[in-house]
């Protein structure tokens, strides 16, 4: 090409070349097309004839094909240095070469003799040739297999020989593999001839395997291959001498099958392979093993563990159990219901793992029993844990991951915005598609979207309730439902960044853990009645019963909390309602025995989904019964009728749903169905197999029992056994106990209320005994909430015989942290304690602990001297009952024993509890941060901040200018019980004139408004002013009127705040 060639010429030239190439390809295709009838050599010859026409200079061009060890070249072929090659490959293994030569020197462009397009051309052709050859091979193989099958039918004996024969001819690699396996078998059996062959095998292996060597063109390798094949045949010869035909046959079959599936295992074991590949592999495995002709290919433990690790959990405890119960076919269904972003690795999170494993365990253990039919798991779709990452990246919200490192106040403030942000974000299209598929599969029944975070499956951390679960009514058009679902998922995602779990993680040093959150989309178990959707009954069950209402119930007997409707009412502690409690190990011993108790402690409300309004709501059971009671299936199993004091179970035919005498008691369910037994068996089985006590959530649709969740029971902070320190100095121990212990930890008790059992017994007047009850009630209102304990003679709340215990009702002591009953021996006879039975369920729901003490038992310490000898502040607190000071003793711990608090630790595992004095807030050897119980009460933040603010006010206050004598802090800020919206209660001892008072009030109101703003920022709580100021004068103090009593009070005294500017205000407390 000369430079003067016009652009048109260049284009024309290019086009010409192009057409030549196309022509060549066309011709090659034609040849191959006819090739069905031709032998390979003929095909090759034809091809080399037409090939040169596709090149620039056909006249001086020659083509050559090398196939295996044969060479096909035109006559007079002269190899030259100008050569273009392309390998012919079958299954990526080179078996030949296509070559094009120029016999003479030709002009080159940039050092290249061949055009780009020519290179492409030759590659294309080589590929086509390869494909053709492969195609032929396959045809041959198919043919051979058919033959073999026929021969198999004819000859029964030595069928394996036939197979091997076939294999040798069609798939040598597999043949060699199988013979090697057989060799190992023989070797392990100790057969000598095998040993000899072994040596040769390994030697030749190095040279023979065609896939190892790069260079195909070595004739010598043919020999080694031959040798190998010969050895292989020999192996089987030997084998036939030592093993039966059937044996050999089965083994060969097995190995062939295994080889088929080997690719699956390779992918699965590779943990770096993306999820899509793994799912692909599983699907292919399933395909291979489906169908009656193909025998099942066993999957090794290694692969199972790999699968478990990928999808479920990599905790060794979990894997240890899971590998016995989960097999590859358990994943078949799972993978069809997983939604994942591209590039996902697949973890499903703790909740999903727990449930999955539990289901498999139960299915296996109960196989064949009627229980197996009855037990189910609701249909669930899963979103992998890394989808949240993809969601965040898709919306360019990466900075959000910094959220958890921010200041708690900021997190709190920003959280509502984050929710909105997430809700308005868009899901990546592959997730949307997945969700849409999920909706199609799940139908239009209500759904629950649950979080399943990676942290949730760590033992010892309790994220229950910290992340959201959302109910969806799932009604309406597909678009509406999809939007609602996406909304819900987004909201659950947002809850990763909510202040509560972040705080929780900070406390446990888990903040840096990459919190990924999987999602479970589950069908809500239930039935439709009227416009409502709910399960007839649901609840939670525990392997270990930490709330035993009778000494005859052991910890291992377990506990079920049952409610009508959605199980949400059983999971949480309710402030206004009670679930029905049954212990599966002792179903006959119920917590509520008398008709009043049954009535009082029965569920009054029900959670359900209203399909009309598309909402989740709580409703009064009575009004629900009135509305749909007659349609409620098997209602007679769930209620009892109470007429006057007669409690009975209705027979079911004519229940009057309008009746006011119906209470929910589950009597019929407990006594006339196998339900309790079933749950008991489930709990026991899961505990045995998983090696740890479990807690499960379940629901029933009236016909089947559904398992909704399963996790280790120790994940609940309430149930953590507090380690009992062994090094407490004896003089600090107030009491210990060895019988009937439940788990728990009560750290900072500031007051002990001790009713001396002897003094109480000696009261001569029943009126006085009643007064003790009244006094306790008063104390209950005065003492700081949950920071005092009540100790008294057995049977608190005694009815009938007041001598046996103090006459109180639940409301008289509901602020106590622990209720303790002391049983002292009377002669040979130790009184029976009540275990709080009269208000047992109230204790449970408000987390008041119960502890029985038996001071006269051996090895028990009961420091009565301390209790009787410490200064008694009762008379000053409740002066109207001062005459009972001998009986009721109130000990103010920080005041009397040099600022120590009482700490009570209870450990049910070893059956020990101890109450001892210790400095407040100090962790002795007993606590590790990861096990520390999260206090359900207000975070320390609030009162501490308020205290600081109060001190700041005091320090800024110009006492002289405003005529202030002293300033005190009291109320919740002083008592460390302040909540996010609490006031700061200030008491000002004022000694100035009206003018000064006005100024002071203005100054303080300014502070009040500012603090309210700050508080809004910190907590989101809006108040008009944060200060609540009271003024007292000298006169008030003298007369002890109004708030002045708080100054210098015996207990709960106002705290004096240091003023600057010289006024000394230290008043003795």
């Amino acid at each position: 090409m000369t430079d003067q060639a016009s652009p048109i010429d260049i284009i024309l030239n290019d086009l010409l070349e192009r057409s030549k190439e196309l022509n060549t390809i066309y011709h090659v295709e034609e040849i191959i097309g006819e090739a069905a009838n031709l032998e390979l050599p003929q095909v090759f010859n034809k091809i080399i004839e037409i090939l040169p026409h596709g090149w620039q200079f056909p006249e001086i061009c020659q083509a050559r094909i090398i196939f295996m060890d044969e060479v096909f070249e035109p006559e007079g072929f002269v190899p030259s240095s100008i050569c273009l090659q392309s390998p012919i490959q079958i299954e990526e293994k080179p078996i030949g070469m296509v070559e094009v030569y120029y016999t003479r020197e030709i002009p080159n462009l940039d050092g290249d003799y061949f055009l780009k397009e020519e290179k492409k051309l030759i590659d294309t052709i080589a590929d086509r040739i390869g494909e053709t050859i492969f195609h032929r091979k396959l045809k041959e193989m198919a043919h051979e297999w058919d033959h073999a099958k026929q021969r198999l039918h004819e000859k029964e004996k030595r069928e394996w020989r036939v197979i091997l024969d076939l294999l040798e001819r069609t798939d040598q690699k597999l043949f060699i593999l199988i013979s090697r396996k057989m060799l190992y078998q023989l070797f392990w059996k100790g057969i000598n001839e095998a040993k000899e062959i072994m040596a040769t095998f390994f030697e030749d292996q190095k040279h023979s395997d065609p896939s190892i060597t790069e260079d195909v063109n070595r004739p010598s390798q043919k020999q080694s291959l031959e040798k190998i094949l010969a050895s292989s045949r020999e192996v089987f010869q030997i084998a036939s001498n030592y093993m039966s035909d059937a044996d050999i046959s089965t083994r060969i079959q097995k190995w062939i099958q295994e080889d088929k599936a080997s690719f699956v295992f390779k992918v699965l074991v590779n943990s770096d392979a993306p999820l899509a590949e793994a799912i692909d592999a599983i699907t292919r495995y399933r395909y291979i093993t489906s169908g009656k002709d193909n025998p099942y290919i066993p999957v090794g433990k290694g692969v199972r563990v790999a699968l478990i690790r990928r999808f479920l959990s990599d905790h060794l405890d979990y894997i240890n159990v899971a590998k016995e119960y989960i097999d590859i076919h358990d994943f078949f269904q799972l993978i069809e219901t997983v939604i994942y972003p591209s590039g996902s690795f697949g973890h499903l999170g703790g909740k999903s793992s727990g449930l999955f494993l539990a289901e498999k365990i139960l299915k296996k253990e109960f196989a064949g029993t009627p229980l197996a039919d009855n037990l189910r798991v609701p249909k669930t779709w899963y979103i992998t844990a890394d989808a949240i990452g993809s969601f965040i990246t898709y919306n360019n919200m990466e900075e959000i991951t910094e959220q958890k490192y921010k200041d708690m106040d900021q997190i709190r403030l920003e959280y509502p915005n984050i929710i909105q942000l997430f809700k308005n974000a868009i899901f990546p299209p592959d997730i949307i598609k997945g969700l849409s598929l999920a909706l199609d599969d799940l139908g239009d029944s209500p759904l629950i979207v649950r979080s399943s975070s990676l942290l949730e499956d760590r033992m010892g951390t309790a994220f229950s309730g910290k992340y959201k679960s959302l109910f969806l009514a799932n009604q309406g058009s597909k678009v509406e439902r999809l939007n609602a679902l996406m909304d819900a998922v987004a909201e659950v995602y947002a809850s990763v960044f909510s202040p509560d779990p972040i705080e929780y993680r900070i406390e446990r040093n888990l903040l840096d853990f990459n919190e990924e959150m999987g999602i479970m989309i589950q069908q809500v178990v239930g039935i439709k009645i009227g416009k409502y959707f709910f399960p007839p009954y649901a609840g939670v069950a525990f392997s270990n019963n930490e709330f035993r209402w009778s000494t005859r119930i052991k910890r291992e007997d377990g506990l079920i909390r049952l409610v009508l409707g959605l199980g949400t009412r059983a999971v949480d502690r309710l402030s206004d309602d009670y679930p029905v409690l049954i212990s599966p190990g002792r179903p006959n011993l119920r917590a509520n025995v008398t008709p009043e108790e049954i009535k009082r402690y029965s569920p009054k409300k029900i959670d359900l989904i209203n399909l009309e309004t598309n909402t989740f709501q709580s409703q009064e059971i009575n009004s629900l019964f009135r509305e749909i009671g007659s349609q409620f299936p098997a209602l007679h199993n769930y209620v009892s009728i109470i007429q006057d004091d007669h409690v009975f179970q209705p027979t079911g035919f004519d229940i009057d749903a309008q009746s006011r005498e119906m209470v929910v008691s589950f009597e019929g369910l407990a006594t006339r169905t196998g339900f309790i037994k079933q749950i008991g068996k489930i709990l026991k089985t899961l505990q045995d197999r998983m090696g740890t006590p479990v807690d499960i959530e379940f629901a029933s649709d009236g016909r089947h029992l559904y398992l909704l969740q399963c996790r280790p029971q120790s994940s609940n902070p309430e149930n953590i056994a507090s380690p009992i320190p062994r090094d407490i100095p004896l003089d600090r121990i107030i009491f210990n106990a060895r019988k009937y212990i439940s788990n728990g930890r009560v750290p900072d008790i500031t007051h002990i209320v001790y009713i001396d059992p002897d003094a109480y017994q000696n009261l001569s007047d029943s009126n006085q005994m009643l007064e003790v009850g009244k006094a306790v009630s008063k104390l209950n209102k005065i003492l700081p909430k949950r920071q005092f304990i009540l100790m008294g003679p057995g049977r608190w709340g005694s009815r009938g015989d007041i001598k046996l215990g103090v006459s109180v009702s639940y409301s008289d002591f509901n602020n106590t942290a622990v209720l303790i009953e002391v049983a002292r021996k009377k002669g040979n006879y130790v009184p029976e304690l009540s275990f709080g039975t009269h208000f047992f369920q109230d204790l449970v729901e408000s987390s008041i602990r119960y502890l029985p003490l038996y001071p006269d038992d051996p090895e028990i310490t009961f420091n009565e001297d301390f209790l009787l000898g410490s200064p008694n502040v009762f008379a000053e607190m409740v002066p109207e009952f001062a005459h009972l000071s001998e009986v009721i003793r109130v000990i103010d711990l920080p005041g009397s024993t040099a600022a120590m608090n009482l700490r009570i630790l209870m450990n049910a595992d070893i059956g020990e509890a101890v109450g001892f004095l210790t400095a407040p807030g100090v962790k002795t050897t007993d606590s590790q941060p990861s096990n520390r119980e999260v206090s359900p009460h207000s975070s320390d933040d609030h009162w501490q901040w308020r205290l600081r603010m109060a001190e700041a006010i005091a320090s800024h206050l110009e006492a002289d200018r405003f005529g202030v004598q002293a300033i005190y802090l009291f109320g919740s800020s002083k008592n460390a019980t302040a909540g996010p919206g609490s006031d700061i209660d200030l008491l000002i001892h004022f000694g100035g004139d009206d003018e000064q008072k006005k100024l002071l009030q203005e100054w303080l109101s300014g502070w009040s408004v500012c603090l309210a703003e700050l508080n809004l920022f910190r907590t989101g709580f809006r108040t008009d002013g944060l200060l609540d100021v009271h003024y007292v004068t000298d006169e008030d103090i003298q007369k002890r009127t109004s708030y002045s009593v708080k100054i210098g009070a015996v207990t709960d005294a106002a705290r004096s705040l240091p003023l600057t500017k010289g006024k000394s205000t230290r008043k003795p407390k």
Binding site: W549, S550, T551, R552, S575, D576, R586, N588, L589, A591, V593, T594, P595, K599, R600, K604, Q643, D644, D645, H646, V647, F648, R660, V663, Q761, N762, L763, S764, D765, S766, N767, Q768, M769, L770, R795, R799, G800, D801, I802, K803, L804, S811, N814, K826, P831, E832, S834, F835, T837
Partner: protein
């Protein structure tokens, strides 16, 4: 077991001694009446659910049956003391006597805690109790009833065992049975109605009729509800009702100056007698603090909730308008308050008498059972009216004649009747 401190039996005896002194009983009679006639102590061996045997202690104290077969409850209690039971048995004698029903007094029970027992084990205990004492109880000897921690189911089990032993149907053996299984109609209303019957008679004595009078009631349980119903039917107006609010652990008084509507309040009440505060407000009831019930400007106060509700602290807040206090509960007035009420000349119907409707209905159950014929409700309530009225008249006459306080008069009449019976029989 020597006991220091408060001894309920000694206290009951002291009470009796005082009254005996007033009546002028001779020593012999006094000595007879201040002790129980018979006491049975026995053991009940039970095979527990898990197979092991546990032995329970049971007992029955029959204080006095001169006027008729002994009557009294059976209680299950983990540490019953015999002195309490003796005191209660004595109390039953007086109670039956004051309403003039032909029954004596008794009490009994088993030392156990039903919370620790399965239903089957409880049944065993009930039957075991009857087995041990079957020779000494029965429709003509001693008629038990439910009490603390026992209920109608236990009564039925005991009846069944008794009938098996004695070979026949003896529904009159025990009371407290459910309607349809030997129970009497009208039992739910009995105490409340009984109270109002006494009230009506008391008003009559004062020259008043229920119509035109107003009342304030503390409590909104069974007794209060039925008392209100009847009182309003008779034309009275109930101005306020106070009750306990479970969730707030507080009491509230609900007032409507021109009369509360019972049905309205019932519709917003939960099953323990707690009225919904918000809904009450919506229905235009004033919601006041619980303790305000006592200062209402009404003619009649009815404490029908717990004991010790009228005490030194609040007795002076009683309005000047109040003329009658009818004690619907047990022991709602403390002794010091009692003193003040007496001084103010407010007429008081003692609990002893006022809430005897219950025991009277129990007697009716026994009567119907013995006849194997069960009356309709209006017949039961009609007879109740009669009985209450006569009982009241007897006491109030004694009051007038001897210028006694009602409480003392009631007690004295009760003892007198028993003393008379004992003498008539030739026992003393």
């Amino acid at each position: 077991m020597k006991q220091n401190g408060f001894n309920p039996f000694e206290m009951a005896q002291a009470q009796f001694d005082k009254a005996a002194q007033l009546i002028g009983l001779d020593d012999g009679t006094r000595e007879l009446l201040r002790e129980p006639l018979r006491e049975y102590h026995f053991t009940i061996p039970i095979r527990m659910d898990d197979g092991h045997i546990k032995v329970f202690k049971g007992f029955r104290v029959q204080h006095n049956d001169a006027r008729g077969p002994a009557k009294g409850g059976i209680r299950f209690h983990p540490q019953e003391t015999i002195d309490t039971v003796r005191a209660l048995a004595m109390w039953m004698t007086w109670k039956c006597s004051v309403v003039d029903i032909p029954l004596g007094g008794g009490k009994g029970g088993v030392i156990c805690d039903p919370h620790n027992l399965s239903p089957r084990e409880q049944e065993q205990i009930c039957r075991g109790w009857v087995r041990q004492i079957s020779r000494n109880v029965g429709p003509v000897l001693d008629v038990p009833a439910p009490d603390v921690m026992t209920n109608s189911q236990h009564m039925l089990w005991m009846l069944d065992e008794f009938e098996t032993i004695h070979g026949g149907r003896y529904p009159g053996f025990i009371t407290g049975k459910p309607v349809g299984m030997g129970g009497s109609l009208g039992r739910t209303e009995a105490t409340g109605f009984g109270l109002v019957f006494h009230l009506r008679e008391a008003l009559n004595d004062l020259g008043l009729k229920p119509k035109g009078t107003t009342a304030a009631i503390q409590g909104f349980g069974n007794v209060a509800q039925h008392a209100i119903r009847l009182f309003q039917d008779l034309g009275g107006t109930v101005v306020s009702v106070s009750c306990w609010n479970q969730s707030e652990s507080l009491a509230y008084t609900f007032r409507k100056k021109d009369g509360i509507s019972l049905d309205e309040l019932l519709s917003i009440t939960d099953s323990f007698g707690g009225i919904d505060k918000e809904k009450a407000r919506e229905l235009n009831y004033e919601v006041l603090p619980g303790e305000n019930w006592i200062e209402q400007e009404v003619d009649i106060l009815i404490p029908a909730a717990l004991e010790n509700q009228i005490s030194r602290e609040n007795v002076d807040r009683i309005s000047q308008q109040v003329k009658v206090i009818a004690e619907g509960a047990n022991g709602p007035t403390t002794p010091d308050a009692d003193e003040r009420i007496r001084n103010r000349n407010i007429f008081l119907i003692p609990d002893f008498l006022a809430n005897a409707g219950g025991v009277t209905c129990s007697y009716f159950e026994q009567v119907q059972s013995n006849n194997n014929y069960y009356w309709e409700k209006d017949e039961v309530l009609g007879k109740l009216d009669l009985k209450m009225t006569s009982a009241y008249i007897a006491v109030s006459e004694l009051c007038r004649k001897n210028r006694l306080y009602m409480r003392d008069a009631a007690y004295i009449i009760a003892i007198k009747r028993v003393a008379q019976a004992v003498r008539d029989r030739g026992w003393a």
